[in-house]
Symmetry: D2
Subunit: 349 residues, 4 copies
């Protein structure tokens, strides 16, 4: 459990919402709206997102959580004999209690490169099926699942994304990008991928709200016409259509109207870079090298214990030799002061 | 779409939340919490509910929506060859896009009596299976689904509930009660069912928040030991575990701590009774006779058009002879003034 | 259990296979074939069926059983939010242990007319969905399931079939016909439906082998292009692709090559008509009036007991007043002598 | 397609049935039986298997195919949040079109050792779950899937099986053994595992008929009480209950009554050993070293082409350097003469 008096770096969803979000909820609290996402705010929220995408050619839906949006989209996209290509470390493969398989679909898990799926792995999977003389004995890979940023905080370069897109085009695969931390990924230091690139390359992707300043909620952007069809039916069937849908639309309107989504995640990444630099300066290894808000440091037990007195962070695994991998996570709510304290304490380890 | 300047009776989830809920969210917005429902507020919220139940022997979980909680509970309760007994008009049978079937389970729909499933129907279904010589060719009825109040606003009497419980005991069936509008049901005029009765008779039931003053969220009360096992795994698998779980726990804590849940729903029912009396006084038929916050009136087209100028309400169906069934729904936010206006206009029809 | 010394009318699958089937199996037993239905006999069997259909424009697959072929076809045809329209007495609704729901699909059950679904019911279901303002809250009816003959032995007339086809065309529904007893249906006394009519009206249908002279097996005829796609993948996924597929193809080749399928089922129906006439002559009610190999008689207990001494038949249900409905079923193996004995005993009741 | 005039080693299911099986089908063809496996032959077949097991404490069911029995058993054994531990090369993971995932369950695939899953891998999977602080985010491994012999023809030793059993006991996992080629596995050269050992170690396993002399069919042996419950309901629901069930029971009765199952598979393995020795004598590598009826040889293209003129065999994969892996498979129908011809031709390569 989280203790008071600590400074919190254990994840990016441990606090409520950006104050503007709460204010928006208050300001509209006594208004009456149509239910199930057919309200003004969902329309306005979608419009703001479409402006940011530079295109009105996208269906935007608002769902409450990441696992929910992932499996609902996949259930809507695939026929029963079709499967998903994903990195072995992907969230759907290891942290969603088999939600995708529960909808009937196999995940073909491929080894990752710093958390990322490679175009080569996608091509290998697709080509193996295409070339099989006994196709009916295996599932048909039909959807590529990426996380941007990846579960290890890394981001795909524009050329990596485009290479995967080309494979998807060759083999008629859907490309779906889980953007639970999209804001942080787009703010990545040397990243060259823009929101427009994501929209151009993906058939569908999410814009995470829960971890990026909203109280809760994920926006799902559907570009491929086949994925747009009847999607609200899939939402309702999967318990993913909030009765008071405007609560979600309003939040995304607030985040996107003036660029708040981008400014708060940019700050979080800047703070994460300060932490990264502090670890580097101390000679503490970071693995992998993450340009986003999640920093994975390899600490000795003594170092971890020392930092654990003032800071919360997440234990990720034993690295042998008495060392452990831990995650420090900044967020939209992380302050300069909080990071300055941590930086100083890292320096003093 | 909902128009401004109207008075809203179209449903009980068209406004945000009771002011105390919003205040609680504000007051805790900068606090940091453990994720996924393992936080202080979920614990406190559960404790308040347990106090109201008069028993600590219940597992309490918080989920985001009604369809979600219904199908997740059913998926957790049943084996693949088992089915649900429900009224034909039940929400799971007709308004959740086949969510229960999507988890693999058949719903055995039986005719309703004023919206309610009868003990006789449950007994007939269970006895038919028990007595079948070819059981393996049919599904095994294993869970009884009730709504309290029913989809038509009616409530089960204590003796009706107990009769169904006895059948469930005889045939080892789970009894699950959908309490999306539980507060309104418990406030029913001549109703003799208490929250403790619900808890005593049911193996699991929900306490609806979305329609009863919360911003969103349903509390699920699990009493039967078999249903408690691994329920969090089912929640996660079905996208029903909110990352910021405390948002739900906090709301239910706020609603239950001082009895707010009961007082606001009681007022809503009192307001609904004023509407009922106005229709009765005017000789306008109500069908069925509902003692809760939903009032179904049979109006002529002229009457409906006249009321539609100032009030929103829901069209339910054509009754023949130029008459239609419409629903007027009060809620936790309905005011004396709003109802007084309606009552006057009904009188003037 | 079935006793020796009896004459068997309890069902049409209580004996092995027509002698020609066994001979064909023997004659090919030492030959070697490619597996999984990619063999000579499956090709030849399909060709014979295509000849009978008068069209090569159909994909023919061979599966082992009726429940299997029903749910596999439905799983292949529907998206998760889509449902099946069927008669309440249909096999998939009441005698397949929820196999269709187990694949995730709701069955919308409508009242039957002498075992048959009406075009009016189909139209009502489809129109209700088409006209719904809240489509996403309900399943989309997408496939109509008929049995020919029906579970009560009755057959659709050509105009009834065509009326249903027209509704399917209007609403873009698939029409699937379960022909587990197709041979008996086509041989119906005053029936005006030919195999070509079935093929013309249906998007997919089965030609039952198990009950019509084969050792086991059902041929599935797929006409609609969308249903043909990847069907072998669905077969394999659902355990419906027999390793030694030629065993099935060979049987259907044998049944169709020289018209054996039609002659043996025609004889069975002729024998059933003798039984029907005997009951009629005796004033024993038949319900409904069945022109096929299943005869449902309403007997007194004394009559049933008397016949049960020499004949097997199936108890269908209590009719009140000490009467019961029982089924006498002829088959491809029923002989003149067996029926003559029964006819005499009915006359002597 | 298979060509005439060849000698067939491409698989062990390319011919009909052992002559005694066909004779049994003929001898009973005009008898009448109760349907759905509730007949004399299913009872007798089960009794013969129980005799061979040395125990009456097993429920025996007869199903038509391997994929079908695998996924039906798994669907019956697991709750939605539970998963299967299997080798990456296991049949359910790579050759059944995602049938297990289609029932909603994840397969946790672990690296194999000569085709076999190790006790260490099983322990690692189970321990990781047991020790997880966030169990609800991952699936619970609950069933271990083994093939005996493995997909690569190798067999588990008694100590290997017992080690896996111990892990299953420690973590309360089901152990299910796919015995599609069980007869060949039990006849393995230096194998020390008996049918009784399989029965002792497994909670459930199959005795393959399709590949071991039957026309078609697999016997499923259920030992664990939880797996016995309602299994016939799962069979029916999954299209795995043959209407003329006696066809299966009769075949297994014929195979087990006098030990035919064991003698014909023993001969097949002896013939396979002659092929193995011939390859060895020629210096042609076999990979892995298989003591059963499947022999995997690494041939040059010239060698493969030369043998392909007279023999059918299966291409398994490219091994680089112009070499390919091919499979020669003997079966219950393989003769001395066929193998002598092959042995001579291998020697002459």
């Amino acid at each position: 459990m989280v203790q008071s008096g600590m400074i919190f770096f254990h994840n990016d969803y441990n606090k409520g919402a950006h104050p503007e979000i709460l204010r928006a909820l208050e300001n509209t609290n006594t208004e009456s709206y149509t239910g199930y996402g057919l309200d003004t705010w969902c329309r306005k929220g979608a419009q703001e997102i479409q402006k940011a995408l530079g295109s009105g050619d996208a269906a935007i839906h608002f769902l409450t959580g990441g696992t929910q949006v992932n499996y609902t989209l996949i259930a809507a996209a695939l026929r029963p004999f079709q499967s998903v290509i994903a990195a072995d470390c992907s969230h759907i493969n290891g942290h969603e209690t088999g939600a995708v398989e529960n909808t009937g679909h196999k995940i073909l898990a491929y080894g990752n490169k710093d958390g990322k799926l490679t175009a080569e792995a996608v091509e290998a999977a697709a080509a193996a099926y295409a070339g099989s003389r006994t196709q009916e004995h295996v599932t048909q890979p039909k959807l590529v699942f990426l996380s941007f940023p990846s579960e290890l905080g890394t981001v795909y370069s524009k050329s990596e994304l485009e290479a995967i897109r080309r494979v998807c085009d060759s083999y008629r695969l859907f490309l779906y990008i889980d953007g639970a931390r999209l804001g942080y990924g787009l703010a990545a230091g040397h990243g060259d991928v823009t929101l427009q690139d994501i929209f151009r390359c993906a058939d569908a992707f999410t814009i995470g709200g829960t971890k990026c300043g909203a109280l809760f909620g994920e926006a799902l952007v559907l570009k491929h016409p086949a994925l747009k069809e009847n999607f609200r039916s899939y939402m309702k069937q999967n318990g993913a259509m909030l009765a008071k849908g405007w609560l979600l639309g309003l939040q995304f309107y607030t985040l996107f109207r003036g660029g708040l989504y981008f400014s708060i995640t940019k700050n979080a990444v800047a703070q994460a870079m300060r932490i990264r630099d502090a670890f580097r300066a101390k000679g503490i290894p970071l693995q992998p090298d993450s340009p986003t808000n999640q920093q994975f440091a390899i600490l000795t037990k003594e170092q971890a214990d020392a930092l654990a007195e003032k800071y919360t962070f997440e234990y990720e695994g034993d690295m042998g030799g008495g060392r452990q991998c831990v995650r420090f996570c900044t967020s939209w709510s992380t302050t300069d002061e909080e990071v300055s304290a941590l930086v100083a304490d890292i320096a003093g380890l």
